[in-house]
Symmetry: C2
Subunit: 898 residues, 2 copies
């Protein structure tokens, strides 16, 4: 502890807290009332020893802050490969040097796998001796840095040695200073409550929402202690990469483990699904990076509530108005019994428009003016969500005292794999071939996706054709729905399988690229995975929305691919209905199967297997397991695999919620339901099923925010196209204002259909059974804007076609620019920093400066009274002045961060 | 000085430099080689006293850092209004308290005018006694804060009293710490030069560009001294507002004034127009805010070079291909002598298409495929410019040690006027009426702009009509050009006058709104001025580009406004030609008249007047003037009026360069020529004609960056519309790929013109002189896509019209999204922080940490050797350890900022 060595007092800046116990109780939090005694107790190690063994060194005093594990083998050979050893030493020394410079960096998400290149070239050289030698050197270095180590090779876990590391107070202080952690000062101020009506409303709101808040007293004061876990990740990561150690992790903490019922009961439980998350506690236990993830997920879920409400209202509006919808009424009306042209050559027959009645009515649910409003609403919702997240992030930064913390953006240290590659002179030569390889892989991957989409389309076409040929009318009427549904399910299965494949492909591609730093590796990997998974999830949907039913030709000259397969057409109500089916199946299926089945089911299965196994075990073994040290039980948990999959899942969902929301207003509701489960599921996983992740500091969610912004931007243009091209919104408008004789929608159905003279069928293309409807057909109708047979230029696209097209394009331009402008205005109107936070920051700064000025004046007076004395006496009194200046140093540290 | 009082040593953090002279020579700059002796000399005040008098207190030792002036009058009445005095005291105390908290803020741009509200209510209460009393209290407060003051009421300038303020070293130190200025440390490291081929190329490039660099040795070490000028602006500003003092300004500095030949010769001179600016020196003399303006202006001018090069090439391409342009060839060809319909009812006659030959050829200069390429290029250029500015800003931040400096964004202090308004209880009541007033003013202002535009249009229409009626053929042939030119000139004059009016209107509107803080006042004012000036400058241009010639009707049923005025039509080549004329006249005129005439001419005129006046003066007076103290001469210079007009001018120019670049590829060239003069002009103004502005810190150019981004965004969509709607690019494409029989442009002119049967003229609309062309006209042609007289629906818009419209709209969508995507990619590819800077920052951090670690180890050893001694001895040795710890504190201060 700092105060134990009196010489430390000189470093009044570095070691501002005299002793942890003394300081934590003396110096109170700047913003909060005094700490609860329970929390203070948890900070004094002595009183918690009864809680669980294995959390302390054998003296029972020093806490185990970090664990390193390694394999124990009997020394097999003593000749060590000089060459390899020298190389590693160099790299090691460099890494150490670098490590000292960058202790405050967020860690790589997990102990990483030994890279293939490295293991291929060096695995044979890594003899046990060499490893032990390097371990010893490394541990020596750790000791030099002031850490205290204890080895335990004699555990109940055979073959695994443990190095327990304890970071003493002065090391923590030094590292905390490096990381610019903020310290609470003596000064306490009350957060001013707003007065008057506002305050009363506030109290009422607080009372009303009280059941929504978790029963957790959120205090923050532990940050210095907790966060310094990050102290030596750099070097360990490097050494883990070379296989010298097998794992590195901090322990599930006793002080929090004893409080684990809090996290368990108030967070990682389905019974509290309606409550806010205890984010402060999560952050205290897991660090800022994971805390931010859950805060983000929480805000996203919260924001989904209004979106799903409006979505449901839009859907209900569709349901309510389906009987007043003139176009579908006209289609269903028996009087307007229009004879339609066959939908394919030869095999298909003439049909009555009335048959499309059901589809037309169903289409109205998703294709009504309210969906236009809803997609504008959702675009603004996305902008609002971004803004709110910025504000929430700012608030968390303030509450977690991160306002001054700046992440080292660019100057990351090179990855071990990169150094290896650079060292091998062959890199330059390989680089070219690799680039070609990467390009090919990209092309191949994207190609596979499109091929699969095309395959599913072909399946649909052929099945439709086959079933159309069947003469059974009931079969035929069920054809469409069945084909659509099975095709969507096949698509879903393909998507699920490819999702896993693409994850591996993205990692492989990134490894090929040999990015220089860990951060760039992670970002490239995320970006690639995102692109691939996004293409995978949305290609079939985009096909249905924008390409299906576009280039079908016309009766008598339908367009064919591969000679016999006709291009697909949409049902009479437009493709929106099918888009909706595809969307809901993909989204629900992905969520149910990928998230819930995989994430709930597989762990349950594993538990079951473990249970069955344990039945077979002897009583003795079980007894032994009970007495395992904490660091041994933790060793058996699964390692933390990073937040990437969690974020990825959510961002794809965000895509479903925003991209095609014009065609599926229920998407936000489904997302909301999924996320309510997801939060608690993830919480359970983190609390109980994973090794405790190394706490990492982060100010923001990094690349994910940019990806979210990207999705939100793309959403605007896609929604514009869905409304104007996939739905019948624009044709209806054009008809109403340009062609309708009485300004109503009556006659719209007739207007959208062109005439075809059956005598214009070429040989072999007329229906096999022309009298199917019971009468001779002379003129049939089809849905398109083409000139009638009696015009000068029969069957070419008509003026109406171009007018509608122009209107559609104009709508896209107007929609896109209006929504972008509105998003910019939202962005501009909502300040990035919440007002109360900025006021509080300002207030704090004033208080700090006041404190500092007072301090200085006091000192001045003190000096003035001292000046007549001689130098000797001044020196003797200096420490007094110094101790008085401590609060100033505090205040300065604090003020520094504005 | 710090070291003069030994007690100061305790504050080893605050006062890290023992004494200025000692420290500047001892502690070397982190990045640069040791300071040149010449600069060191300029830092030691004693050696420069011979340079100019009036820069020091009467003891000749202490330098005058700041000047306050006030009016001297004989005390007229001693009864002071208690009420008013109390109010002011309160406000004053508050402002002081606030001031202490916010010493490091950038200042309001200038000593501000007494607000009307305040002066109306209180001017009668401000008696001299009261003012003197408050001056005394204020000066007492300044003395309490450690400043040293000297009064001089007995100057040669009658009626003006001067308060000279000197900030002693320890005050500067304290303020520097508040502002988190960075200090150079002992540690020096060499910036590593890149080796190999890169280095050689670098050397070559450096040699080649050497004449472009100004002959200035750029060193930076003075920042602490220089920047602390900002020490007490807050309070002074408040007091200036109440009329207690009349002016407040720092002096044109002796140390730099002696070096003024440097700034004069290497910066503020037209003879160095081809050189880079000595930005470091500018920043040293004027502070970061003004330094950033000139850096920005420099980069903008630099970036204009490639843009104008490409623009000239595009223009030359137009010139070169004008003879191969098939449409204009067809128009000019005597064989295709098509009879055109009259352009107005009755008064106009039939005319031959050949008459439009000249316009058509000229139009081709600005309406060819190269302009499409050029507008894409300019959109990307704008994105590149933004990115480069971000990088340049980052580099300057690094070089000027601003990387850790964070501006106080939100918590600005309320303006005095705001406080006054809040104090008057009437505010609430007034607020509603004011809001209504503001809304009305906005409407009125915008209304006036449009009215004026409309007026100019009417002028054009009526003159055209009048001249058309004239029978003189030569007059008529000159009609168009003359009308266009005079109209554009009238427009320009109106724009210039309105520009001045709008500046006042914007200020008035902002004052009405009573913004809370100075910063928000400034930003609102800028935003309003920008909107008004932008609307003013671009409304006529937008009218020509998008509205003129759109709704003209057709021969026989031309559209009329106010019964007798026809809507204007464009010449046969499209409106692009006229747009181009309007653009060039507005842009050139604005630049020549507003910038150069106003900015060069008026100061010259003033000088002339002054010279004539001085001729009349007696020799004695002249002699007296020569002996004026420095602070007196400075008092006669014009006060610094903020950077807003300079930025505004440039951003409007940026609008001309980007917004309509599709129609005027020479705009960047004109802008470049203007800016080369502008830089030196502004430089001269700042160096010689203005009082020295208070140095202000700034990390970025603030709201201007956002406005630039906004203009760049709007530019994309406007260019898309100009290309697709104003130019004939899309109709040509549509013709070539949809209608042309042989895929060439032959027949395009014929295709764009519809037929009109002269027998369809209603009574009174046929031309007065139908035989003007010498033959009986039966069918005439006009430029539009309408059905011919022989169709079923004569004269309604044809299918071609809709097809072309759809193509135009599709082009807008494609262009906008492609360009936005490309801009985003540019944004994403170019890192915001230049790589060398990020490497250097990283390196510095490592060095700092190394230094710190060494320091600590040394201290540890020292402590270990000390531990056996008793407490008394330890205290005696403490100062030694402390002095050793100074570099550590340095390093920490430095490392803090990453």
């Amino acid at each position: 502890m700092c105060s134990s060595s009196p010489g430390h007092q000189i470093r009044n800046k570095q070691c501002v807290l005299e002793s942890p116990k003394l300081s934590w109780s003396n110096k109170l939090d700047v913003r909060y009332p005094p700490l609860s005694p329970q929390l203070l107790n948890s900070l004094a190690p002595e009183e918690n020893t009864q809680c669980q063994h294995g959390l302390y060194f054998q003296d029972g005093e020093r806490r185990v802050d970090y664990i390193l594990t390694y394999h124990i083998k009997k020394p097999s050979s003593s000749r060590s490969n000089r060459q390899s050893s020298r190389f590693t030493d160099n790299a090691f020394t460099r890494s150490l040097r670098r490590g000292t410079a960058r202790l405050g960096r967020p860690p790589p998400p997990q102990p990483r796998v030994v890279p293939e290149v490295a293991s291929q070239d060096h695995s044979m050289d890594y003899h046990e001796d060499d490893k032990r030698y390097r371990r010893e050197e490394f541990e020596g270095n750790l000791r030099d840095m002031g850490l205290e180590l204890e080895k335990d090779e004699d555990t109940k876990t055979p073959g695994v040695g443990f190095v327990k590391i304890h970071a003493p107070w002065h090391v923590l202080c030094r590292e905390a200073e490096f990381m610019k952690l903020k310290m609470p000062t003596k000064k306490v101020y009350e957060v001013k409550q707003c007065s008057g009506v506002g305050a009363k409303i506030n109290t009422l709101v607080n009372k009303a929402t009280e059941p929504l808040h978790p029963n957790v007293e959120e205090n923050r004061a532990q940050n210095v202690k907790h966060l310094s876990y990050a102290f030596s990740r750099e070097k360990q990561h490097f050494l883990l990469g070379s296989g010298v150690y097998t794992a590195a992790y901090p322990l599930h903490d006793v002080s929090t483990h004893c409080n684990q019922h809090l996290l368990y009961e108030e967070w990682a439980s389905y019974s509290v699904f309606y409550k806010y998350q205890p984010i402060g506690l999560v952050r205290k236990y897991f660090g800022e990076k994971i805390g931010l993830y859950f805060a983000w997920l929480g805000l996203y879920t919260q924001m989904l509530i209004p979106a799903s409400l409006v979505g449901v209202i839009v859907f209900l509006y569709g349901c309510a108005t389906v009987d007043n919808n003139i176009p579908s009424m006209e289609i269903c009306h028996p009087r307007n019994n229009i004879t339609m042209c066959p939908l394919c050559d030869r095999a298909c027959n003439y049909w009555k428009l009335k048959e499309a009645c059901g589809t037309a009515r169903a289409s109205h649910l998703f294709d009504n003016p309210a969906t236009v409003f809803f997609s504008i609403f959702m675009a603004l919702w996305a902008a609002m969500f971004m803004e709110h997240w910025k504000r929430r992030q700012m608030r968390l930064n303030y509450e977690w005292d991160l306002t001054g913390f700046e992440e080292e953006e660019v100057s990351d240290h090179p990855r071990a794999e990169y150094e290896l590659c650079v060292m091998q002179k062959s890199l330059k030569k390989e680089h070219k071939t690799q680039k070609v390889l990467i390009a090919y892989s990209w092309v191949f991957t994207i190609g596979v996706t499109f091929a699969i989409v095309f395959g599913v389309i072909l399946y649909r076409i052929s099945i439709t054709a086959a079933l159309h040929m069947s003469n059974n009318p009931t079969t035929r009427s069920n054809v469409r729905l069945m084909v659509k549904t099975t095709a969507a399910i096949i698509n879903l299965v393909v998507i699920l399988i490819l999702d896993e494949v693409y994850g591996a492909v993205a990692r492989w591609l990134t490894v090929l690229e040999v990015p220089k730093t860990d951060k760039s590796f992670e970002e490239r990997l995320i970006f690639k995975t995102f692109i691939l998974k996004f293409v995978n999830a949305f290609t079939p949907i985009i096909y249905i929305a924008f390409f299906r039913g576009r280039l079908v030709g016309r009766p008598g000259s339908y367009l064919y691919v591969f000679e016999s397969y006709r291009m697909e057409e949409c049902a009479h109500g437009g493709c929106l209905m099918e888009l909706c089916i595809q969307l809901s199946i993909t989204m629900l299926g992905k969520q149910l199967i990928q998230n819930n089945l995989f994430e709930i089911g597989i762990p349950k299965l594993k538990k079951l297997i473990r249970y069955i196994k344990s039945k077979r075990r002897t009583f003795q073994e079980e007894e032994r397991e009970k007495k395992l040290q904490r660091y041994e039980t933790d060793h058996f948990l699964e390692p933390f695999a990073g937040l990437t999959p969690e974020y990825m899942e959510m961002i794809i969902q965000f895509g479903f919620v925003t991209l095609f929301v014009a065609s599926f207003p229920l998407a936000p509701l489904f997302a909301l339901l999924n996320n309510i489960i997801e939060i608690r599921l993830d919480a359970k996983k983190f609390v109980a099923e994973l090794r405790r992740p190394v706490a990492a500091r982060a100010k923001d969610i990094g690349i994910w925010y940019n990806l979210l912004r990207g999705v939100a931007k793309v959403a605007v243009i896609i929604n514009a196209f869905v409304i104007s091209f996939t739905s019948d919104f624009i044709p209806r408008l054009v008809y109403q204002y340009m062609y309708s004789p009485d300004g109503s929608m009556h006659g719209f159905v007739n207007h959208t259909m062109s005439y075809f003279n059956v005598s214009d069928f070429q040989d072999g293309k007329e229906p096999m059974d022309p009298h199917h409807l019971g009468y001779q057909v002379e003129m049939c109708r089809y849905k398109d804007y083409r000139e009638p047979p009696w015009s000068n230029t029969p069957y070419v696209v008509s003026k109406e076609f171009w007018a509608v097209l122009a209107a559609r394009l104009a709508f896209v331009i107007v929609f896109q620019n209006v929504v972008m402008l509105m998003s910019d205005i939202v962005d501009w109107l909502i300040p990035d920093i919440p007002k109360d936070i900025s006021l509080q920051i300002h207030k704090e700064k004033i208080l700090m400066v006041e404190l500092f000025m007072k301090e200085e004046q006091g000192k001045m007076q003190f000096i003035d009274s001292m000046t007549p004395c001689d130098g000797k006496e001044r020196n003797n009194h200096a420490p007094v002045a110094r101790s008085r200046s401590i609060p100033h140093t505090y205040s300065h540290t604090h003020a520094n961060n504005f």
